[in-house]
């Protein structure tokens, strides 16, 4: 205890006696927390439980008093729904490619851009920009680029005397086109995360490896990558969670088509609930998505915990 404390103490206790509340006093903490907790409770935590309840009903979205309890019927319907299984396949395709692409290209671009210099600074800005610009607007630009008659990509194919593929109107090429767009839009975020991760990699070790005559790719493989494991896991999990929920670009570019080729499970959820008004069925899809995403989040927590210990 210092002299200052000794002087301060009596004064403080006299304040307390006068009914003054110290700044660190926790008696009003819940009051301060309540605005945020009310918003979360009513619009996030409550609804997350409510969706479980809805999934047990033949729910009427327009008049919920007309809903009838059907138990696990929606889940059984889900299991035997060809649309649902088709959407799972589409989701695995979409999520798998987006996650792999984000991780590999994100890390590659971050490595390219991690050194100083004007060119790299400008390029970094170019890579980041799509991530902060709206999905609807930029999707429209890409719909135009992918236009099967006058679009830029088909013009290029024509100039090279290659067959035109029709992109968004082709059951084969629509999904790759949407994946390509998604990578273009979202890679900026992954690059930021990898750049932040690279900044923590020990430069001493990298230099030591270089002095020892290690080739660049060995330096990356043996020195940089092992130190980035946690960042890589984080990127994989966060892009999985995000791409499982992708909606806007699919809606704008393909509306889930052609022939459901781009109807992922997240898109099916929207269609079933808000286009066909199969709300209970949609809620069951939501619960399945929720479970999958929760699993991935827990996995990430697990990995980052075990790493930091």
């Amino acid at each position: 205890m210092t002299a200052v404390d000794a002087v301060v103490r009596p004064q403080r206790s006299s304040r307390r006696r006068a009914g003054r509340i110290g700044i660190r006093d926790g008696r009003f903490a819940l009051l301060y927390l309540s605005p945020a907790l009310i918003v979360f409770g009513v619009f996030t935590i409550g609804p997350a439980l409510f969706v479980l309840y809805i999934s047990l009903f033949d729910w009427n979205l327009l008049n919920s008093s007309l809903s009838t309890f059907t138990g696990l019927h929606n889940y059984r319907a889900l299991g035997s729904s060809a649309d649902f299984w088709h959407s799972i396949v589409a989701s695995v395709y979409f999520v798998g490619c987006v996650v792999a692409g984000s991780t590999v290209f994100g890390l590659g671009i971050a490595l390219l851009l991690s050194s100083r210099g004007l060119v790299r600074r400008v390029v970094r800005l170019a890579v980041l920009t799509p991530y902060f610009t709206p999905l609807v607007a930029t999707s429209i630009v890409w719909v135009w680029i992918f236009n099967p008659q006058y679009g830029l990509l088909d013009s290029l194919l024509r100039m090279l005397h290659l067959p035109m593929v029709g992109w968004l109107q082709s059951t084969t090429w629509a999904m790759p086109a949407v994946i390509f767009y998604t990578l273009w839009h979202d890679l900026g975020f992954t690059v930021i995360i990898f750049l932040a991760g690279l900044a923590t990699v020990s430069t001493d070790l990298r230099e030591a490896a270089r002095v020892d005559g290690a080739r660049y790719r060995h330096e990356i493989r043996d020195v940089v990558l092992p130190q980035l494991t946690q960042t890589i896991v984080f990127v994989i999990v966060i892009t999985t969670i995000d791409s499982l929920q992708a909606f806007t670009q699919i809606y704008t570019m393909t509306q889930g088509g052609p022939l459901q080729a781009t109807t992922t499970t997240g898109f099916l959820l929207y269609q079933e609930s808000f286009v066909f008004f199969h709300t209970g069925f949609g809620a069951a899809i939501a619960v399945v998505l929720f479970a999958v995403i929760a699993l991935f989040t827990l996995l990430q927590l697990r990995v980052s915990r075990s790493r930091s210990q």
């Binding site: 004064q11 403080r12 918003v39 997350a48 390029v123 980041l128 709206p134 630009v141 929920q245």
Partner: protein
């Protein structure tokens, strides 16, 4: 060995040059769609449909006036500004109060509340669409501004960032304020808030851009153009003018320009904020 060193230097330089060239190509790939939409928006319809395509912008400004007249853009802009502004204000207030409670005050169950707040990140937004639609309809908030503001009025990212800020605040500062007889609200207003400005600005920017860019939520929860934000308006415009590529491109340009400008001015702060999210979820 000077010769060996020279070769090594040369190899290093050439590698740096090659990677710089690759970086440049990647930059062009990422920036090109923005260039292309500007080119299209200034082209005449005939020019757009010609083969091979023309890569230089035309001088046709008419597309802009046609697209501008095609929808109630001013209303969409004002709606977006209002919704984004109100959401930012609400998030800043809720985050500041909650961040203060979790970062400064001492009470039983503090860690538990923090853990509960962080675990909200686990709840995916797409899962909330159906139940929140029901909640909002019970509140009679469907198709209103309320539905677009209040549900987004608290942010885990905001609370976490401010808790970190309060946690790092020197204890002497709190003690000095106590000595001066400041109440909790006085401390928050006159001492903490000015110091927290960088964090508040980052949070504000993120929430602003997110609500400017939001689509799915207002698309589901609203149906009247007089309360809808810009991206929903643009999507409707796309639905009705889907083949007018020059007009559409003009609409894309003028609806995206405001958020682009915000991004250009604030990019460094936004990058720092994104890097901070890594910490937020890494725990």
């Amino acid at each position: 060995m000077p010769a060996g060193a020279g070769a090594a230097l040369w190899r290093k330089r050439s590698r740096r040059f090659r990677s710089g060239l690759l970086a440049l190509l990647i930059g062009i790939l990422f920036a090109f769609p923005f260039y292309w939409v500007i080119v299209t928006s200034f082209s005449s319809t005939n020019r757009v449909y010609q083969f091979p395509p023309d890569f230089l912008p035309g001088t046709e400004a008419h597309n802009y006036s046609r697209a501008w007249a095609g929808a109630t853009w001013v209303r969409f802009f004002l709606n977006t500004l209002f919704i984004a502004g109100a959401t930012v204000a609400l998030v800043l207030v809720t985050s500041l109060l909650a961040g203060f409670a979790l970062g400064v005050t001492r009470f039983k169950g503090r860690e538990l509340v923090l853990f509960a707040v962080l675990s909200i990140l686990m709840i995916p937004k797409v899962v909330l669409l159906i139940p929140d639609y029901v909640v909002l309809s019970k509140l009679h908030w469907l198709d209103t501004y309320w539905a677009q503001i209040v549900p987004w009025g608290a942010s885990v990212f905001g609370i976490f960032l401010l808790r970190q800020f309060f946690n790092a605040l020197p204890q002497e500062l709190v003690e000095a304020a106590e000595l001066d007889g400041a109440s909790q609200m006085q401390f928050l207003r006159t001492i903490a808030m000015p110091l927290a400005r960088p964090a508040l600005v980052t949070i504000g920017l993120y929430i602003f851009i997110a609500s400017w860019n939001s689509f799915l939520w207002p698309f589901i929860m609203t149906s009247s153009p007089h309360v809808q934000p810009i991206e929903v308006g643009l999507s409707t415009f796309f639905g009705t003018n889907g083949t007018d590529w020059t007009g559409l491109s003009a609409a894309v340009v003028f609806t995206t320009l405001p958020v682009m400008i915000v991004f250009m001015f604030a990019q460094r702060r936004l990058v720092e904020g994104a890097s901070a999210t890594t910490g937020a979820t890494k725990g």
